[in-house]
């Protein structure tokens, strides 16, 4: 290689004879004893937590798969002397779906609307603060309290159409409708929280751009903000679903502990909703020694299915929340074009 006048090559790394040391990150041997005890305790606790988590999952896996049969999914629960022979949990699965669907159907629009109101309007301020505290309170209230209140409400005469009416006029008060409404109240804080978080993350310049184009606040919410926070709405809904699916107290009190879904009246779907039945959670409870007992194997199998559903929902939430990122410039431009296109029809 040609070298310019009066220059030398400077080495880029230490020569072969020079010892290079890469120090390890941590040396706790010099710490005082108390600190080392603390360090050791942390490691011990961390590993213990790992072990417990793995133990729980493995145990449920082993027991659940051990007792799981395809027939369980399609047969309705049936009483029998030998419990592991007869019946399955078809009805409870249907019940879970019905209840979750009903709960989310009520909670999602209400939750999004309230979150939008709290985030964008929030006037008068005292009312907004009161609503915020109420939502927080629902999140902290034990579900049993919600359940007995629900029972009280739906046992009133006027709401008899939502459940059964006994011969002497007393309203039974327990039905999928009733449980669905209370489940909606249960899921509400999660949806409201998630949507509000999403709305808070939307940068102000998007709102300002919409107002500058002459949109009202209502159409800004509808056309700009809500589409922007779709992942947050979705994750809020899935969180709510997880909460609904996992709750047993409300089911036990508001749907009763009959194992089979019994409809009321002849109208096809409404009849089912007015009737009672069971969900996976109440099925597990009833089949365990705490309920009527007698079929721990089916309880394990149902619990396993329940666990799998909940884990699936959890994985969906994780995927959704990792997808949320602030809108890039291209997406923002696309959003503006959409606003422009929708302009004449929203004024």
């Amino acid at each position: 290689m040609a070298a310019a006048e009066g220059t030398e090559l400077r080495p880029l790394a230490p020569g072969p004879g020079v010892p290079v040391v890469r120090p390890r990150r941590q040396r706790t041997s010099s710490w005082p004893l108390i600190d080392r005890i603390g360090y050791g305790l942390c490691w011990a606790t961390g590993l213990a937590l790992c072990a417990i988590a793995i133990a729980i999952v493995l145990y449920m896996l082993v027991k659940g798969i051990g007792y799981l049969k395809p027939s369980l999914f399609v047969e309705s629960p049936a009483p029998a002397v030998k419990q592991d022979e007869a019946g399955g949990f078809f009805d409870p699965i249907i019940g879970t779906f019905i209840l979750t669907g009903l709960g989310i159907l009520i909670a999602a629009p209400v939750g999004v609307a309230i979150a939008a109101w709290l985030s964008e309007y929030a006037r008068p301020r005292a009312l907004a603060r009161a609503v915020e505290s109420a939502i927080e309170m629902i999140g902290g209230v034990p579900s049993v309290v919600l359940a007995i209140f629900g029972l009280l409400v739906f046992s009133q005469g006027v709401l008899g159409f939502l459940s059964q009416r006994a011969a002497n006029g007393a309203v039974y008060g327990r039905s999928f409708f009733a449980a669905g409404v209370i489940m909606a109240v249960l899921a509400l804080p999660l949806i409201v929280g998630s949507v509000r978080e999403g709305l808070a993350q939307v940068p102000d310049h998007m709102r300002e751009a919409a107002y500058a184009l002459g949109k009202t606040r209502a159409s800004c919410i509808r056309h700009v903000l809500l589409p922007a926070i779709r992942p947050n709405v979705a994750s809020g809904i899935v969180l709510g679903m997880g909460r609904i699916i996992g709750d047993t107290a409300i089911v036990t009190i508001l749907i009763g502990v009959t194992l089979q879904n019994e409809a009321v009246g002849n109208v096809p779907i409404i009849g089912n909703l007015r009737g009672t039945g069971s969900t996976l959670t109440s099925y597990v409870y009833t089949n365990s020694p705490a309920g009527e007992g007698g079929a721990p194997q089916k309880a394990y199998a149902a619990a396993f299915v329940l666990l799998m559903i909940v884990l699936l929902l959890n994985a969906i939430v994780t995927r959704l929340s990792s997808d949320t990122k602030p809108l890039g410039r291209a997406a923002f431009a696309g959003r503006l074009r959409m606003i422009g296109r929708s302009l004449p029809w929203t004024q």
């Binding site: 290689m1 090559l9 400077r10 020079v18 290079v20 120090p23 990150r25 040396r27 010099s30």
Partner: protein
């Protein structure tokens, strides 16, 4: 040059040996500091009075530092003396901050760091000292003021309270702790402003006050060397001036090493200056010599603002 040949790998054009002997005084003075700037030099007023009682505290010998496979500091040798302020200047990426952090082994916190060469504190290799003891003797102040979310007193007394003395920690507010803290605050020039209530939250102070608090915190454990990583870059000019005065006042008791990319600041406070470029020590000398009579072309270019 043949176009098929790869470009040469050398990075720096070296004209002579980089280490330059301390200069004799200009105009026959014989001293190391003058109060009037020499003609042609940048006209920054000097804050310094003559340095007295200079003795060597740390010595950096042929030090190489790397992050992963990239050598960030290459074969640097410097002395660090008590009684004077050493300024490390250079463009971004010249390795000056890494060199500073290696002086109290803060580079070890990053995974994948590697080193070669020797750094000694009072003759002892610092990698053989216990790291926390070393860090109490060689304290560091960072670019952004970072007071802890505690009261002023707790901040300043932090290192003292955590010093395991005979196996017990002095965590209560003993009078001696308060006295030491007050002394450190005085040395940092903050005492008069906060003496009325030392239990005030430290985060309520202004930016300049917070930085002085961090300096007081670093001084409380009576360190032998004080490292400052661009301490004034986040502050307004008045706070900067206060801190620069403070630095010059401290050099009698502590060896001060300051990294700065502000050349005027280096001129104001430093006694010796080391200019680094791309990890190499290009030139080291007294402040007048570097700013008025730099021997390397690269130094001349940097000081005149040709790059940076």
């Amino acid at each position: 040059m043949d176009p098929m040949m790869p470009p040469p790998v050398r990075r720096i054009v070296v004209e002579r040996e980089p280490y330059v002997a301390p200069p004799t005084g200009q105009n026959g003075d014989g001293g190391t500091a003058t109060l009037a700037p020499a003609p042609g030099a940048a006209s920054a007023p000097r804050l310094r009075r003559p340095a007295t009682n200079v003795r060597e505290r740390m010595r950096v010998e042929s030090v190489w530092l790397a992050y992963g496979d990239r050598w960030v500091v290459r074969d640097v040798s410097l002395p660090v003396r008590q009684g004077e302020v050493l300024a490390l200047i250079g463009a971004s990426g010249s390795g000056k901050t890494t060199l500073l952090r290696s002086l109290n082994r803060l580079t070890e916190v990053t995974a994948g760091a590697a080193r070669a060469g020797r750094i000694t504190l009072d003759g002892e290799e610092i990698h053989e000292l216990e790291v926390n003891q070393l860090r109490r003797r060689v304290s560091m102040v960072f670019q952004q003021p970072n007071p802890f979310p505690m009261s002023i007193l707790d901040n300043v007394a932090y290192a003292l309270a955590e010093h395991p003395k005979h196996g017990r920690r002095r965590r209560r507010r003993t009078p001696e702790l308060e006295a030491t803290a007050a002394d450190a605050l005085r040395r940092a020039g903050l005492y008069d402003e906060v003496a009325d209530d030392l239990n005030r939250p430290a985060l309520r102070l202004s930016g300049g006050q917070q930085q002085r608090l961090c300096i007081a915190r670093a001084l409380a454990a009576q360190p032998e060397v004080l490292l400052l990583d661009e301490p004034c870059s986040a502050l307004d000019p008045i706070s900067t001036a206060t801190i620069e005065e403070l630095i010059v006042g401290l050099r009698e008791s502590v060896a001060v090493v300051i990294v700065t990319h502000n050349l005027q600041q280096a001129q104001r406070v430093a006694d010796h200056v080391a200019f680094m470029h791309l990890g190499e020590l290009v030139e080291y000398g007294s402040s007048e010599q570097i700013f008025e009579r730099p021997t390397m072309q690269r130094t001349r270019d940097y000081i005149s603002g040709a790059f940076g």
